[in-house]
Symmetry: C2
Subunit: 406 residues, 2 copies
């Protein structure tokens, strides 16, 4: 038994680390090294056995000085430290997860989605046009929210809809399903889809999983897990495809209201504030509805996902170098990202697509713009080349880190 | 020396609490009690002196079992626990304070204020009309933000303006002052006003301290401290008076968009969501611009403050019973609170008042409505009596707890 080190604890006591068996203590240091540390004053004098510990205890008590001893085998100490570190990481991850689900307990989030007409229209049309693939079949709705997609599938003739919702909204969804007399078809499960136990493989997976710039929230990863676990080999994904687009844009409103505004405020020069505005604007992309007039080139596809095949690993990092030819003279402010997502089948011969482009009617996803940090004057015919990266944040996988190089 | 108790620590070790002097250990228990606890198995066997501690240590080490000992005098243990508790409270309070100041580092907050025309107009007019009281005098601007009020006072002829700002915006304010060539008059202090050291007593204190329903943020309390410490006995407060008003209101927009919306959504009955909407709506007042058409009676004064005299203690709890006579048939949704604040002097014979009433042009303070939780049909001539309380939250003094009884 060797006392390896003595540390002053936060509360003023002393902590002694002990190795029970010198052979097993990987981090044990030699007696010479210990002596060197002590004689050089880097650590306090060490005690070499329990008799000395007892003497020190006695002295500490008699003098009325508090003293703390922690005695562990080195192995146990390492086990405790590892467990503490793991617990800390698990707690952080849990907080993110809990926060994510909690956000969907707020009614306002559902209100915004249910007031999004292009969203509702695309899903309702897709379900109507796929009625032949839904009728009599089993459907899984991943993240059902208020249950609207599940109920639309039930109305389209589904035999059963497994409606899975991790947030407390599941409790309300169950009441809504009952109020609409669809409880014999729609079965609500209050749990993350990752842990749901279904009585059968399903024919269709429907989900409204899209976030800002498609991937924010990383809910797609959960949908893909559900697909791999619960969808029949020839089952249908709704939606079945998704594309992320990028296009250079000007931002006249942003410039006027957020930057130029500070040129003169109530008669004073407040341009000093602009540094802080840029700092804030560069720390996270701008999420706003930008008009079609902002587009300065033909949009290009940044990423294209086949939702029957794409894997979670492929979503960890998306990267592309894109070349745009400028179509009009203006101040280039940044790169706008948006997505579309499409469904199997057509309506009146036209593919069923939910499009969040600046040229489409606004949705609650708006558009996402990564700013350059300057307004760069460009002219028609000029080429703009960018390298765009979207990397899943390893610390909070619900977020992506977007970087842009010009 | 008596070992008082042994506890199993979270990490599997043992914790022993020791009293150095049996006479001083208030929480010490008798030997009989200890023996009873041990024999009944409620605590593990106790050790009575250091020799036994040493023996136990030796055994624990030889067996390879980890063991933790914490040895403190009872007095020291209590001191540590008290210090920990105090530190925890201090940290929480600090977090609130830091969070409050941080919110004023965001440019957007200042943008909203500086785009508030009624606000800017009232202060600019008041400063202009008080130029005779400002010229050649010392002014203190409490929470100067971007420095706009300080610079207006400088333009009105102030000899010196002490511009105090706790948030990092102070750094930008200093740059702005210099950019406008007013640094010989406006002196920026980057600290809470509570800790500022001024070279003299001031003639005027100007501040834009008002929050939602006047009192939210509790910044007035800081202004009053500054008044008591730094204002000359006959000095001027700008503004000098403030009133909080209350009036019963209908809320047709709220009802249509937040409640009735759920009656039928994409063809489904979603009234079940309304319970959650009400729950959320009742947990915090509604802050929104409500039109003058929402008012259902003559507004009444809930509280009236003379800012030359009012004390922080008087702001801890404001309470009043108010009687309203309904003027039109409608659904009563709640009680709307708003404020006005006025300045010394007149403009064209009219008092200079910044009014946030539903009948005045909208400001960034909007109006604050405490909801009843139902829509109560009332008719002209009916009397509505309410008891309204605004109590400063002892846990987070920046907040008030508003309660309403009908």
């Amino acid at each position: 038994m060797i006392l390896q080190r003595v540390e002053v604890a936060e509360d003023g006591g002393h902590v002694l680390y002990v190795s029970h068996d010198p052979d097993e203590g990987e981090k044990e240091i030699s007696q010479e090294e210990l002596d060197d540390l002590v004689s050089s004053g880097q650590i306090p004098p060490l005690l070499s056995d329990t008799e000395e510990v007892a003497a020190q205890l006695k002295e500490a008590m008699q003098s009325g000085n508090p003293m703390e001893l922690k005695l562990f085998t080195e192995e146990k100490r390492r086990a405790i430290e590892t467990a503490k570190a793991q617990e800390k990481i698990a707690k952080e991850q849990e907080t993110y997860s809990a926060g994510y689900y909690e956000s969907y307990e707020k009614v306002e989030v559902h209100e915004v989605m249910l007031k999004d007409t292009p969203r509702n229209y695309a899903y309702a049309t897709a379900i109507e046009k796929c009625a032949h693939k839904i009728a009599g079949k089993a459907v899984l709705d991943v993240g059902c929210g208020t249950g609207i997609l599940s109920m639309l599938c039930a109305k389209a003739g589904a035999r059963v809809v497994y409606a899975v919702e991790a947030s407390k909204m599941a409790v309300t969804a169950e009441r809504i399903v009952k109020d609409n007399n669809l409880q014999h078809i729609v079965k609500v499960y209050h749990c993350p889809v990752e842990s749901v136990q279904l009585p059968e493989q399903v024919d269709v997976i429907i989900s409204e999983w899209m976030g800002f710039y498609l991937l924010h929230e990383s809910m797609l990863q959960s949908v893909l897990k559900a697909r791999d676990l619960h969808l029949k080999p020839d089952g249908l994904m709704m939606p079945s495809k998704a594309n992320v687009y990028a296009v250079p844009v000007s931002l006249h409103d942003f410039r006027r209201e957020k930057i130029d505004f500070w040129d003169k405020v109530v008669g004073f020069d407040m341009r000093a504030v602009q540094d802080t505005v840029w700092e804030e604007a560069m720390s996270a992309p701008l999420i706003d509805v930008i008009g079609p007039g902002s587009m300065m080139a033909k949009p290009q596809i940044f990423a294209s996902l086949d939702l029957h095949k794409v894997t979670a690993a492929e979503l960890e990092k998306l990267s592309a170098t894109l070349k745009f030819t400028v179509t009009k003279e203006d101040d280039l402010a940044g790169i706008c990202c948006y997505f579309d997502t499409s469904f199997f089948g057509t309506a009146n011969g036209v593919p069923i697509v939910l499009n969040t482009s600046p040229e489409s009617p606004p949705t609650h996803w708006k558009q996402t713009v990564c700013l350059l940090g300057v307004f760069a004057r460009v002219k028609p015919g000029e080429e703009v080349e960018i390298n765009l990266n979207m990397v899943q944040d390893s610390f909070n996988p619900r977020h992506y880190i977007i970087s842009l190089e010009t």
